[in-house]
Symmetry: C2
Subunit: 311 residues, 2 copies
């Protein structure tokens, strides 16, 4: 089968790639594009802006590479029964939006869109560390914490496309840290890049480094960095245990920027995971670092571009 175009859409960044049938990225580009504008007053103008922005970003790259199928990971809740974007946390004006159809019309391409975190799970199962596992929980640790679930080879998105809000599991019910979602004690408030940096700012009397530097400092034994990265790993392990107790899924893969701190995060993660599972599950759960780096989402988008996976 010929190459397809895969897109991974963030708040201000768009990644585009040409992917072949074996999951190899043969060309790639990154663009800045602002999908949300404060000037937007109505759903109609917001929709027009999103379609226009995406079309302008995608069309030249698509033409250059002569592809006619696009798969896209997009941050929002998609309804399985009608394919509509029900809502998107960062683009509140969009409700029940026919994103894929509108984009297909504008681009003159075959277009399929899926939740970005679910795309990453699909990519990880097809080409990454989750290859060959019928059941997979994939976690993306980046600015925020995303996750996607595959059950019996079918991506699971729930009744309203809102399943797997793993990043908002509460793992600290008392004096939990405030999360971007408005609740307290969420995983994302401890184990995202944003959280590490905020936490660093709070407990250290020095300039705030980025997450990568925080891991380097932890490796060198700096106490603040050790404390907060240890905490992030522990909370991740506790939250994964909760998910395993409900789902009985025994392969967990982790990608995203923070997976670069695997050597630091994994030991406390594994310890708390085993501590919190029920007895017959202890020792049965594998937590694997993604071997796709940041590309799980793009490769999953390529899978859905070919009509694969979502049922």
């Amino acid at each position: 089968m010929s190459n397809v175009l895969a897109a991974d859409i963030g708040g201000t960044n768009i990644r585009l790639a040409i992917v072949d049938a074996e999951g190899l990225i043969v060309a790639e580009t990154r663009l800045q594009a602002e999908l949300s504008r404060h000037a937007e007053q109505s759903q109609a103008t917001a929709e027009t802006h999103v379609i226009k922005t995406l079309t302008e970003a995608i069309r030249p790259f698509a033409h250059e590479h002569g592809v006619d199928r696009l798969g896209m990971g997009f941050p929002g809740f998609f309804q399985r029964h009608n394919g509509l974007l029900a809502s998107s946390p960062n683009l509140p004006l969009l409700q029940n939006f026919a994103l894929a159809d509108r984009l297909a019309d504008a681009l003159g391409m075959n277009v399929r869109v899926e939740n970005d975190a679910l795309c990453a799970a699909i990519g990880e199962q097809k080409f990454g560390s989750g290859q060959g596992r019928a059941n997979l929980l994939h976690i993306t640790l980046g600015t925020g914490v995303g996750s996607g679930l595959i059950l019996n080879n079918i991506p699971y998105s729930g009744e309203h496309g809102m399943a797997m809000e793993f990043g908002h599991l509460c793992i600290e019910h008392h004096d939990g840290r405030l999360c971007g979602c408005g609740n307290y004690g969420c995983v994302e408030a401890y184990a995202s890049a944003t959280a590490l940096m905020k936490r660093f700012q709070e407990i250290c009397d020095c300039a705030v480094p980025d997450a990568k530097t925080i891991f380097e400092q932890a490796r060198e034994g700096h106490s603040c960095a050790v404390t907060i990265t240890n905490e992030a790993g522990m909370y991740l392990g506790m939250a994964i245990a909760e998910a395993v107790k409900l789902l009985d899924v025994t392969t967990i893969t982790i990608s995203g920027g923070l997976s670069g701190g695997w050597d630091i995060l994994y030991p406390p993660l594994k310890r708390e995971l085993d501590n919190n599972l029920i007895s017959p599950q202890k020792g049965r759960v594998e937590v694997l670092r993604s071997r796709l780096d940041d590309n799980a989402g793009l490769l999953g988008a390529a899978v859905i571009a070919r009509g694969g996976s979502p049922a």
Copy 2:
């Protein structure tokens, strides 16, 4: 279709019922039977004892009513791919046990067996408050806390039949109460009949009533009873929120002895549920009291006796 025999197996109690095609219980009996014996030394003798005990309990009732199909809810983890009982917390000697086949041979009947909590979910979806819902989380609040999940009309039991250990979600990570599973802070350590009575013993300077009486005292405003039932409702609400964040299932049904305290449990449950959900899920989740009293499990066993439900 003719009547079937439904069985609900507990640690020391066996309930048997004859159920018609509309889910009406036309005859019923309860027996005492000890499935576990400390004298048991090997898996073979434990298996023989379980089959003998169940056969002696079931055969007379089956003959009396002339039924040839048996569905059974049994406390243990069943593997979907081969139907074996992988393990049972109360009967540790049983491992990968062909319970259904052995029982079918001994009784000369068509036998199907499923996890007891999953049976209750199946019964609730077919005949109870969850009727007509394709997705359902059913919780049984009794001596312990059990739960079963239906996704897209298919009972979900996970990779190893261990899904939906809802009763062992941790909702108190600091100074949590010791649970029977060996972990701390589990739902079951706060919101089961056993937990209410233990908690009462700890904080009250008076004789320990049963759970039903604790609810009556809470209605009368006795402070100990108010405190611990309010706590049970709150923790249930928090735990349901965690399950909804992962599963995006919006119908929750609750049965079992503690559902008799619905008027007391529901207000704090509902409040903490809404507090802990992510914004787009708030207000979307229905928590319903079962209308099947203690019969959800029996009625689910009748469904599987007819070859229904598990895929």
